[in-house]
């Protein structure tokens, strides 16, 4: 897990640059039409916050609980904004891809040892994003149910 630290540093220190590239991408990706009409500057802060929070839990022994907590808030905000779940999920996928694109562009994994580190980081990142995607879906479904129950009661 320690070999993932290089990527972790990159994520924490370059959150804004990665977020900026993500915002550009999500704003024109055909699978995320919701974001096409939104000003890029408005969505950059949510990605910066996401990367910073992710870097904080990246090395936790049991990151699931922490991820569930910060993704709960993230999901609630996206739900209130009216972002459809599949698009919110794909925006997260793009966030993950942009960490790697940025890392590749910065050439942080070059030597054979670094390549091994890359493999470890990749595995760790996938695990993190599995939890993130699950937490996002779980929260969205809970919010939908809650909304439905409130509507029925009201």
């Amino acid at each position: 897990m320690l070999s993932s630290l290089k990527l972790l540093d990159l994520m924490a220190n370059s959150a804004e640059s990665i977020a900026r590239q993500w915002a550009k991408d999500v704003g024109r990706n055909p699978k995320t039409p919701y974001y096409h009409t939104i000003d890029q500057d408005d969505i950059i802060p949510q990605a910066v916050e996401f990367y910073q929070k992710l870097s904080r839990v990246y090395t936790d022994k049991d990151p699931f609980t922490a991820i569930q907590r910060f993704m709960g808030k993230f999901a609630e905000e996206r739900f209130q904004e009216g972002v459809p779940l599949h698009q919110a999920l794909y925006a997260i996928v793009l966030m993950r891809r942009h960490i790697w694109l940025y890392a590749e562009f910065q050439a942080i994994f070059i030597t054979i040892v670094e390549q091994q580190q890359a493999m470890d980081s990749l595995t760790r990142t996938i695990l993190m994003f599995d939890y993130i995607a699950y937490a996002l879906t779980e929260k969205y479904e809970a919010l939908l149910k809650c909304n439905y129950k409130n509507n029925k009661r009201g």
């Binding site: 390549q115 996938i126 995607a133 479904e141 029925k152 009201g154």
Partner: protein, 280 residues
């Protein structure tokens, strides 16, 4: 990328049943996928086999995203029919991917340095495929929910929507209501003053009462109040000497029925709001 991942595809093709059985054992007892625990094991294994066979199809396709739909849409439909919550269906997919890697690792598929390189490429390919499938799964799931909600509130929606009457829906509704209320006034006058009876004609009043509550919700209750006052005033004018009791009960029932229908419509309108939220 596909040539590097070929080794993995061969393994998956050859051992799809074994990997699916391993996945089934995992998913059926996993804490995040409790719904799978109650399904027959053969059904779960079958789902897994379909997923693992998808790899070859996708690798051969010019548009892997489209090829992924052949699995993900059916998977979504099957899970939805079995009432499996979306987050569980999603996590089951994650476990499918993990079991694939566990199996490949256990079989010692990627040992040498070159094979390790192939492993990275295969991993990338698997993740890409998983990204597609998970996107299509969530999209399809919500489409299915929308269809379900549409079916459930469809007929009521037709009644309450202005579009039923075209662009000038509100004007048409008002015109229809005025005609119905005029009819009610004429009927009341005819029965009370000419026939001197308060018989069953008042049952017809429920038509404008229900329609107004359907169309205008709480505001529609004014029609019920108007009709209640109408029969009471008419009674006072033309049926002197006849007890008021029956018409008082009728007038109260108009308001009660109008109130109940508009209250129910409030719920339906909220369901419609939820439907619009789902529509996105």
């Amino acid at each position: 990328m596909q040539s590097y991942a070929a080794k993995l595809f061969d393994l998956i093709d050859l051992k799809a049943e074994n990997i699916a059985a391993q996945w089934a054992a995992d998913v059926m007892k996993h804490a995040r996928t409790p719904s799978y625990g109650s399904l027959p094991k053969e059904t779960v294994i079958e789902l897994g086999i379909k997923f693992y066979r998808l790899f070859r199809q996708m690798s051969l396709s010019d548009v892997p995203y489209e090829a992924a739909k052949s699995f993900s849409w059916k998977y979504a439909e099957e899970c939805y029919r079995k009432k499996i919550p979306l987050q569980e269906a999603f996590y089951a997919l994650i476990l499918m991917r993990r079991n694939l890697w566990l199996y490949a690792d256990f079989q010692g598929t990627f040992v040498t340095v070159l094979e390790q390189y192939q492993a990275v490429e295969s991993l990338n390919w698997t993740i890409l495929m998983f990204d597609y499938v998970s996107y299509q799964l969530t999209e399809k799931y919500h489409e299915l929910i929308k269809i379900d909600v549409d079916k459930q509130i469809g007929s009521i929606k037709t009644l309450i929507k202005d579009s039923t009457f075209g662009d000038q829906g509100h004007a048409y509704k008002t015109a229809i209501m005025i005609i119905l209320l005029l009819g009610a006034c004429i009927l009341t006058y005819y029965h009370h003053s000419e026939l001197a009876t308060g018989t069953i004609f008042t049952h017809l009043f429920y038509i404008p009462i229900i329609l107004s509550s359907l169309w205008w919700g709480k505001k529609g209750i004014f029609v019920a109040i108007f009709l209640g006052v109408l029969i009471l005033v008419s009674h006072a004018l033309f049926l002197k000497g006849t007890p008021f009791t029956d018409d008082i009960v009728r007038a109260v029932m108009f308001v009660v029925i109008g109130g109940v229908v508009s209250w129910l419509m409030g719920g339906v309108k909220k369901l419609e709001d939820l439907y619009l939220t789902l529509k996105g």
